[in-house]
Symmetry: D2
Subunit: 364 residues, 4 copies
């Protein structure tokens, strides 16, 4: 079972390999009548695109998106291009593949990569650039996320890289507006400068480093989610864990809540003028019992360092011989950076899905 | 969309409320021909059952399971009861409901509970004991997990409470065999004694505390999982996050991997006699690229303290008035304890599901 | 993959065997706030119940339904029992099993039955009364259908047996009100009398006969369905074909439309006062392009004669020996009769599912 | 809920409109290691392609397929292109759209078409050539079917047009080898000649006519299917009913079985040398209890005449005014013809899906 689809009502099926002809996705379940232009999707893709600074892979990909279906510019509605409610197929052609870079890893399993796992599952693998296991697949998710945002117009989704290696940013220093001013999506100008020096050193060492990303959604209606398997936080956990190199996910206080006492963890409430409870804290990260409370949804996740490094590592070949391996090619010294727009896209997709489910359930 | 089903080929649908007639589940997709007796399911339920020590809720429930379908004791196969491949329905009747205990929370939203979120989603709620949001639902999961273990006979699944409040157990002290010797599923006898004193104090304060659980599966074949949404770690993250009060999940090194460099994080390999790579470390927790590597699967998750405490908390009523609320009733001072067998069950269900998917995919 | 669930948003999972402990279902996705009493479900079950006339199996089953979950009689809403939006589990205990009747077919494959197919799929089978392949499973569907009807309050669903053996009823003679006045759900009193004589002869011969059922839903909103795989007519076809012994399904003019010319088949329209088109014919049976038009949904299906007959038939044993077999036990001379309430239930479930999908899609 | 995916393990998601940029599909769940070239898919598409005779629409489409992902020509396996187990995306660009032909139906609902139903569901529609409701979507199914055939190598699937208008072909005259020798996929040369004259007259009248198609799969293993909703015949019924203009589906004797007595309908068996029962008849059409018996799977379905005809028909506009409408454009006088390769493709997809499910279930 391959299972390259996520979502239930807002369903995204992605396809494509790092060095194949093209990658893309089919978004099924998008409501009709939403204005959608390729340029809007392109703007999100441009944020994730590689080769924009020396801190991401030097692969040059225009990541030009093409909408194949599901939209229609009706002259009866002023010629604006609208979604029709039918599946929206998007493609992004690969242009800078340089397959020769990867010939050496054809027969060896890169430590920390999915090479051996793919061979164990499928019997063989497309070894060019990691094939389907490459982070290049996330371009399709970002494209889908741009559509998902249309489904939840009142919701603001923002993500930031809040820790690089052991260096977390103090929360008091965060300024969301700074994330667009540096190549790290870092919410603090001063830390961004530090990260620049820090990551340059790691890059020159031929090494790599991990990171922590936080993604926050504001303006989410209360009541999104479901009690058991369709829990909003369970879906968010799966969505973030499905991003390449992610090894941990937490909601609200997350692991820190293990050390809390009940009276400190409960988010107290007071009556408010709008008829909804006004919460006095958000330890829960906006989700209780698997259902949104109307507070900001706060998710954090850890990204491991890529294992594509210049230091030789011990490994084996597919015919079970010992070798030492250096992973050349073009790679990200901190893959966490490009995970930032991907995280926003996954949040958007999960919320769009639950938004549609909520309308289906309670009936609006 | 309610969505009370988890799994794809090994599918578990649970039902039931804390104070309803009964709870249970339907397990669909279990292969035929597996020996299955109610006693085996009962043994797992007895580990999770409330009221077994002063450290869990004092509700007395026999949690007696009944198999309604999907098994058959064929005289042609010696009269042993076997699964038939058709859906296995299990029920557990509720017997100790004391609904009167909950009448006071009928109109007020308990802070840190799902009360408000349920009202926002459904318009009204079964307020008796938390209804569907009660951890009582996890009894059905434990029952399903007992069946799931049958599907993956060579796999050993063990879980332990490895941190209570801020008190983590040093890994060098862990002894899995100890988990059965104390009421905390704690893998260290000495720490268990400390937890006894520690939790007694919290209980007497009318407070509660969080915890961290680790669950490990050994003997898992390499190749289980799928590249994108059906990732083994994404499914595990969703499964653990779907357990009541869980706020964070990590695989392998988890959040600690954010601070690692590539050369430290990559699990090196050497050739081995059995033809599979011998891994020299397990930072990855047994999953790479969403697919198992044959190493132990290591998952940890954080459980928040229950918000059912005797300290008055500020909240609002469903008609938007300020009140202060004490949650009486019978509760768990550390809900993390009873999450231990639930975690094992969820691990078993996810692995059983991927085990069946793997056979379907590659063909064995 | 066993797959005992049908529906997408209104999801019904059934379980149970002919001679097991109990059968039942879990209905997930039912909207909250619908008044639901066990008596209402019972009333539908009583229509399908065996042993009510000499024309159905003489097995005596009270088919008493029990609601285990998903409802709550809230004193704040006058104590009426309402659905809560959580899964509704229903059970019906088996009481009149007489397993001894079936011992002789333990090792032989009944011709026209699923015995051999089950062995081929599962390796062995619960041979008592057909196990899971028994039409007894349809009791669970009828129970689910009673809930489904609540979800689509303005819709009237009626079914009738319109042909027994080669004897079809002329459409000009149909009177829906007659279906409750005879043991055949026959819409014509005179034909019902003929069927009585006709079926008595077949029953006395130890034989059986096929039938055609028509089920019609009136008051269905236009716009229910989906363009490709979720087509309303495709879902209806699958739903009816999933009823035991059904071998053909048609919508509207069905097979007769193969002989029509385009100008005769197209349902013309005229403007109407309510803003919707007034259709001048209904060859399409209420569905165009997989989506409802607001016209009555008309579905017909053929039920084969049961193969449980007293005439000896040639067959083989599970160890591949030739034998001749008489199927004793208690059986239906015309299983099409009891398919009538089942067809109504399946129509209700499919429409409830699409009704919820439609609200999710377009937003109402 | 849009739902453009069919299948469970072998999952096909189609996209595209009649006059959009392109149409195509994503095939997810195809096992790895199957040799697959674009030319093989193209060969199937060429059979369905419009404009090949005067008896199908005069739209000229090369229907050139492009594989975007999921295959890899590994030099380690001799450079043959193999499936990798990851999703296979296929696109077919539209080239001959002539949107101007459709401007007149922008505001009027064509009788017998999905125009009104789409507006009722989605609020507006892509009116160019029927948009998503066009039979052009079936090109994507045929492409998917070519891949599905690879998954079930021992199975032979053949379809034929066996009735045009009221003119059925006597079964004694059928010769499958003839289907490739005439533009009707007709299994009898003489009838084909008659159809030529017959359909020419209809075409010249500006009219259209219905048809019946039979599709047969031989070499299907026993044991494919599932007892309740995943019944092989229910999935086949849904698959065929999901083809444009199909109004009825039957398996084996289908509607004729309603007139049979039990002793005539039961397919008797005798022991055989290969250990499987040898069936003496195939009234069941190869499926009993929703599971294959190893006999040929026989499915028939009725296709209505297209409503795109030159005879003026009464209808209404989207603003509820009476008009008379002639549907110009390029159309099929008998859409049943091009449904023949589509039916084969759907049969292949359903069998591939159940083949993979069966291996998952019983374990091979």
């Amino acid at each position: 079972m391959s299972h390259n689809t996520f979502g239930h009502l807002f369903r995204v099926t992605t396809f494509g390999e790092s060095h194949g002809v093209a990658l893309g996705c089919v978004v099924d379940g998008c409501p009709p009548g939403l204005a959608l232009e390729a340029e809007e999707i392109q703007a999100e893709l441009d944020r994730r695109k590689p080769g924009q600074s020396r801190f991401t892979t030097q692969r040059r990909e225009p990541d030009q998106v093409r909408i194949l279906s599901g939209v229609f510019a009706d002259d009866r509605t002023g010629g604006r291009q609208l979604t029709t409610g039918t599946p929206i197929a998007l493609t992004i052609e690969n242009t800078d593949q340089r397959s020769k870079d990867y010939s050496e890893i054809r027969d060896s399993y890169r430590p920390g990569h999915a090479d051996y796992a793919y061979d164990a599952k499928y019997g063989f693998r497309d070894y060019r650039g990691g094939g389907r296991s490459s982070a290049r697949e996330t371009a399709a998710r970002v494209a889908a996320g741009a559509i998902a945002r249309k489904v939840i117009p009142g919701v603001t989704i923002r993500a930031a890289l809040v820790q690089m290696g052991p260096h977390a940013i103090e929360r008091s220093r965060w300024d969301w507006d700074e994330t667009g001013n540096n190549p790290f999506f870092c919410p603090d100008a001063e830390t961004a400068k530090f990260y620049e020096t820090y990551l340059d050193a790691i890059r020159k060492d031929g090494s790599s480093i991990g990171a922590v990303i936080e993604v926050v959604a504001e303006g989410v209606a209360p009541g999104l989610g479901a009690p058991i398997y369709g829990k909003l936080d369970a879906d968010l956990a799966a969505a973030m864990m499905s991003i390449n190199a992610v090894k941990g996910v937490e909601i609200g206080d997350g692991f820190a809540s293990a050390a809390l006492r009940g009276e400190d963890n409960a988010d107290e409430m007071r009556a408010s003028n709008d008829g909804r409870p006004a919460f006095l804290a958000n330890h829960a990260g906006g989700v209780l019992g698997g259902i949104s409370t109307g507070q900001p949804i706060v998710v954090r996740f850890a990204v491991k360092p890529t294992s594509s490094i210049l230091t030789p590592r011990r490994t084996v070949t597919s015919d079970n011989r010992d070798v030492d391996l250096i992973t050349k090619g073009r790679h990200d010294p901190c893959v966490g950076i490009r995970a930032v727009p991907v995280a926003e896209a996954m949040m958007a997709c999960v919320l769009a899905d639950h938004h549609l489910r909520h309308r289906g359930q309670v009936g609006s």
